[in-house]
């Protein structure tokens, strides 16, 4: 029992050390010459553009359901006109960044983990390294940067769609014009609702790319390890998203909302 604990702790520290080294090598390679712009743009397309449908659907459902669930309670207090503001604040501050990040952890992080894991199994990464090219610069830097850039944009997009979903939800049981709904949604928002949420989604994007790349490149050589890398990427990225969210809420509460 005691030896198991020691062995698990040792593995956990080794993994942390490896992740720290990997992080260092990512930052070292960002600033190298011959940046892979074409690959970055390709990854932005794959990560960002290809995720639009699922992000749109999620954002819409979030806004729509949030409105339908809160409308009856607000009606009891005669505060139905506060629903647009409440939906926009909830969606922008917390729900959209976290839910979109969790969905992207499932879609993007696992995809990167499986892709790089498969490249590892088929010796493509070794082939890149042995040819004198830099696999970190080509594969890792581009994917992490693309994810860091695209997740905040997808989150902003989801925020907008959630407000539209909220408008449709409101008009199922009530009657409010589009312009009034938008004015009320936007008027309820302040800078401190938007900026911390944006920073949070940047961090989520970084974690999604980083964890996917780390798990993919550190997978074992069997075909089974491709699935394991994808699975580990989703689990680790999701855990990190929740941890970052918990820390971010504490920081924003202490410095921004007080």
């Amino acid at each position: 029992m005691y030896s198991n604990f020691i062995s698990l702790s040792k593995k956990a520290f080794e993994s942390l050390g490896e992740q720290a080294l990997f992080l260092g090598s990512f930052f070292r390679n960002i600033f190298r010459r011959d940046f892979e712009w074409n690959e970055l743009i390709r990854q932005c397309y794959l990560i960002g553009y290809r995720s639009f449908p699922i992000v749109a659907l999620t954002g819409f459902v979030l806004g729509f359901v949030l409105t339908l669930q809160t409308n009856p309670s607000m009606k009891e207090f005669g505060a139905q006109n506060m629903v647009p503001g409440m939906v926009s604040i909830s969606a922008i501050r917390e729900i959209c960044p976290v839910i979109i990040a969790l969905i992207c952890a499932g879609k993007i992080s696992s995809g990167i983990g499986a892709e790089l894991g498969s490249m590892n199994v088929t010796e493509q990464i070794d082939a890149m390294e042995v040819s004198g090219a830099n696999p970190i610069q080509y594969l890792v830097v581009t994917r992490i940067l693309a994810s860091t850039l695209m997740i905040p944009l997808l989150t902003i997009f989801a925020d907008g769609v959630a407000i539209i979903g909220g408008f449709i939800g409101t008009n199922i049981s009530g009657d409010m014009s589009l312009s009034l709904y938008f004015r009320k949604s936007i008027a309820a928002l302040v800078f401190s609702d938007i900026f911390p949420s944006f920073i949070k989604s940047v961090l989520f994007g970084f974690v999604i790319g980083f964890v996917g790349c780390y798990q993919g490149l550190h997978s074992n050589r069997g075909t089974e390890s491709v699935g394991l890398a994808a699975n580990a990427a989703v689990v680790s990225a999701s855990v990190w998203i929740i941890i970052i969210d918990a820390i971010a809420v504490q920081i924003t509460s202490a410095f921004v909302y007080n």
Partner: protein
């Protein structure tokens, strides 16, 4: 006497408790094709991966162009790798890129060639040399096993390496394609005067391509010589390869 381009002395490598290489020593001269044979799991691939610094040995010395690989700086290692081509067992083609993009990758990233016309010319020349010029826009998934090996070879050759390391170039291919690949390896050696290490279990390939052979058993070299010399060796284990 020709100079040694690769010198391996007392190479030792363990993976956990498993002693894969106990003491492997051999050298390769300039322009020479060296065949490395042995049973599966005897560390042949580990040996050539130590040459390019993909795996680091526990003990022993690996010198390429007279320089100890383990003591090379990052830049020296990178420079050495540009002169050493590596053909992986399954060709290791980048499966998200077309054949042309696979071949352009080392040209733009390693040789830093920016001229599109020059890249195109070299791609066509190299594909022509392996007899697959019409595959330029195909994806690796559209190619047969033999074609993938040839394209892998083309990607290795396009940077005109001085040393080529082949990891089982004919494994999994039919006898006719195997013979074609072997002839191609020989033609490349003659045309470019490149030195090669060829890991193979294919005696036909060894006979066609090899100038010298080394046999590894239980992590040690047990025989070295020409194909004919080893064929007539009294050692029963060596004999078993020629049956």
């Amino acid at each position: 006497m020709e100079e040694n381009v690769i010198d391996i002395k007392g190479l030792k490598k363990n993976f956990g408790d498993k002693e894969v290489l106990k003491s492997v020593s051999f050298s390769v001269k300039k322009g020479e094709n060296m065949i490395v044979m042995g049973r599966s799991g005897e560390g042949k691939s580990v040996t050539i991966k130590c040459i390019v610094g993909l795996i680091w040995q526990d003990e022993g010395s690996v010198k390429v162009f007279g320089k100890e690989v383990k003591e090379m700086t990052e830049n020296e290692l990178k420079e050495m790798r540009t002169k050493v081509g590596f053909l992986f067992q399954n060709a290791a083609l980048y499966d998200s890129m077309t054949v042309a993009e696979n071949l352009a990758f080392p040209l733009t990233r390693v040789l830093k060639i920016k001229n599109a016309e020059e890249i195109k010319t070299r791609i066509h020349e190299t594909l022509d040399s392996v007899g697959l010029e019409d595959t330029v826009d195909k994806m690796p998934s559209d190619l047969s096993g033999g074609m993938r090996k040839r394209i892998g070879l083309a990607r290795t050759l396009i940077v005109k390496p001085e040393i080529i390391l082949y990891d089982e170039p004919t494994t999994g291919l039919d006898p006719i394609t195997s013979a074609e690949i072997s002839e191609l390896i020989l033609a490349i050696q003659k045309k470019n005067n490149a030195s090669s290490i060829i890991i193979t279990h294919d005696m036909q390939c060894a006979k066609i391509t090899g100038d010298r052979m080394v046999l590894i058993n239980e992590g040690e070299c047990i025989g070295e010589g020409s194909y004919e010399e080893l064929q007539h060796s009294p050692d029963k284990f060596i004999q078993s390869f020629f049956k």
